[in-house]
């Protein structure tokens, strides 16, 4: 073989090695994070941690029941606000395409999607906390809902646009009014895709911390009231991790494990749904 070819082959081998290394290195931090979460989290995780309220600062023990319940309340509030709004707005974008408003709304959704979550927090503060004069679960729910909204709007639109025209026309040809056609044929046909989008958006906001700092604020007591401040797992992790107490650091890891399991479950559910949709 002549020299040029040998050199080219060597170059190719070196490049393959380099690309492989570059691709494998990012797995190291991921492995480290998951490993440490598992090790440090599991050792601190027990039933008492999940079912009791926090102890006063500096005192050992206690749990994060308030934060688990709080996260559930916040996600429920955010979903109740964002899911119907997002689906209806998405329907508008997909069904009334040839107007100027849909174009503007699409741009607005993209703009919201790119807005840093801390800025969304400021908006919820201005729109809910200031008029109410105090922090509240509702304010946190509004912040999370604004983050969920563009994701739901755009996935709903993308999924519904794919529903075949034939299907719409055959409903109309049966004498069905178009609003019923949209709600009973188009939406159910795209429902799996819409649900996937909703689950992914919930998974995304479940771990959001920044927009909750000055809206939901946190609350060491168990609360279910939308008008009261409320705690959330991400808030607890932040507050404990930056506290000076070793026992709280331990609890931050345990809370992180709970949170990551929740987020991964939501992601897996969304992926399974998406796969089922492809299969159909």
């Amino acid at each position: 073989m002549d020299k040029g070819v040998t050199r080219r082959l060597w170059k190719d081998r070196v490049a393959t090695l380099l690309v492989t290394i570059l691709a494998l290195v990012p797995l190291i931090p991921l492995a480290l994070i998951l490993l440490q979460l598992a090790v440090k989290g599991i050792t601190s995780l027990n039933l008492q941690f999940l079912t009791s309220l926090p102890h006063p600062p500096g005192e050992e023990g206690g749990g994060v029941l308030n934060a688990i319940v709080g996260t559930a309340v916040l996600l429920a509030l955010a979903s109740a606000l964002a899911v119907p709004t997002g689906i209806l707005a998405g329907i508008y974008l997909s069904e009334y395409r040839d107007r100027t408003l849909p174009h503007a709304v699409r741009m607005a959704a993209d703009l919201l999607q790119g807005t840093p979550s801390i800025v969304i927090g400021i908006l919820a503060y201005a729109w809910v906390v200031r008029p109410m004069h105090h922090f509240s679960a509702l304010a946190g729910g509004v912040a999370l809902a604004i983050i969920m909204l563009p994701v739901i709007v755009r996935t709903t639109e993308e999924v519904l646009v794919l529903v075949p025209r034939d299907l719409r026309e055959s409903a109309l040809a049966l004498g069905v009014p178009s609003w019923r056609m949209i709600l009973k044929v188009v939406l159910p046909t795209g429902m799996v895709g819409v649900t996937t989008g909703v689950l992914l958006s919930i998974a995304r906001v479940a771990g959001e911390t920044a927009p909750l700092l000055f809206t939901a604020f946190g609350n060491p007591f168990l609360s279910l009231k939308p008008t009261e401040p409320i705690d959330a797992l991400p808030l607890v992790i932040f507050n404990y991790a930056t506290s000076p107490y070793a026992d709280w650091w331990r609890q931050a890891w345990a809370a992180s494990l709970v949170l990551i399991v929740l987020v991964i479950l939501l992601n897996v559910a969304a992926r399974l749904l998406a796969r089922r949709m492809k299969g159909e």
């Binding site: 299907l167 026309e169 040809a173 004498g175 069905v176 056609m181 009973k184």
Partner: protein, 252 residues
């Protein structure tokens, strides 16, 4: 002279500035099968989409001239009433994917929010599926999804769905072009039998199919009705040279 169910007078159809139909006068005879044939782009699909006012759904589309259904101008009737009287079957079988066979047949009622008593619903399902020659094949699987059926069965399900609301006129847009020859043959047989209860207008680009199923045939070319008459007459003694050219495969 046959009695007429639908009559057009100087029907012109446009997509924006494009004129697709250039003044059509046709009388569709009651309880007969009428085939509309012609090369692609001749306006045959547009013609039948005018009959149930689906044409006007396309942005920028409009019509001129009159269409009378049972003597009444369809633009003066309620849209939903027109579509109840004029059913439609599409080129590709398209049962609603989220509904069972049973619900698909009842879709015209269910989707419009009409409540049916259970016995009545069952009667409609059975009758419609029998009319569509599908009952024997699916009577034990009524609650399975319609999408599990074969292509030919799906198309017959769509026919049952259209028949369930008791239309006077059934429009079919190339109903067998997406089917294999055997399934297509069964649908053709069905079409010939349907005329006992309903008038059928079937669009086809398949000359042989028109010859097999239709009592009357219309030949459309470039948006004009070139010739219309009893199928046997049109096929054996076409009046217009363009019809003859089309029938002998000179174009399209």
């Amino acid at each position: 002279m046959e009695s007429t169910i639908l009559k057009t007078e100087g029907l012109k159809a446009y997509y924006g500035e494009t004129k697709v139909l250039r003044g059509i006068d046709i009388d569709i005879p009651r309880n007969r099968v009428t085939a509309v044939m012609g090369p692609s782009g001749c306006g045959k699909t547009t013609l039948i989409r005018c009959f149930n006012r689906m044409h006007e759904m396309v942005p920028g589309a409009r019509i001129e001239g009159k269409i009378r259904l049972e003597g009444r101008d369809i633009t003066s009737m309620k849209l939903i009433q027109v579509r109840r009287m004029v059913g439609m079957v599409f080129q590709k079988p398209n049962p609603f994917p989220t509904m069972s066979i049973y619900d698909n047949v009842l879709a015209g009622y269910r989707l419009s929010g009409v409540k049916l008593r259970k016995e009545e619903a069952q009667r409609i399902v059975e009758e419609s599926l029998k009319k569509a020659a599908l009952w024997e094949e699916v009577k034990d699987a009524l609650h399975r999804r319609g999408t599990f059926l074969s292509g030919g069965q799906q198309q017959r399900l769509c026919i049952a769905r259209a028949l369930a609301v008791n239309p006077r006129l059934l429009l079919m847009d190339e109903p067998t072009s997406a089917l294999d020859p055997k399934a297509a043959h069964r649908v053709e047989e069905l079409i010939s039998r349907l005329k006992e209860t309903v008038t059928v207008v079937v669009v086809t680009h398949n000359v042989a199919q028109a010859g097999r199923v239709a009592d009357y045939t219309a030949f459309l070319y470039l948006g004009e009705l070139i010739e219309f008459g009893p199928t046997s007459q049109l096929f054996t003694a076409p009046q217009d040279p363009r019809t003859e050219e089309y029938l002998t495969g000179k174009f399209g």
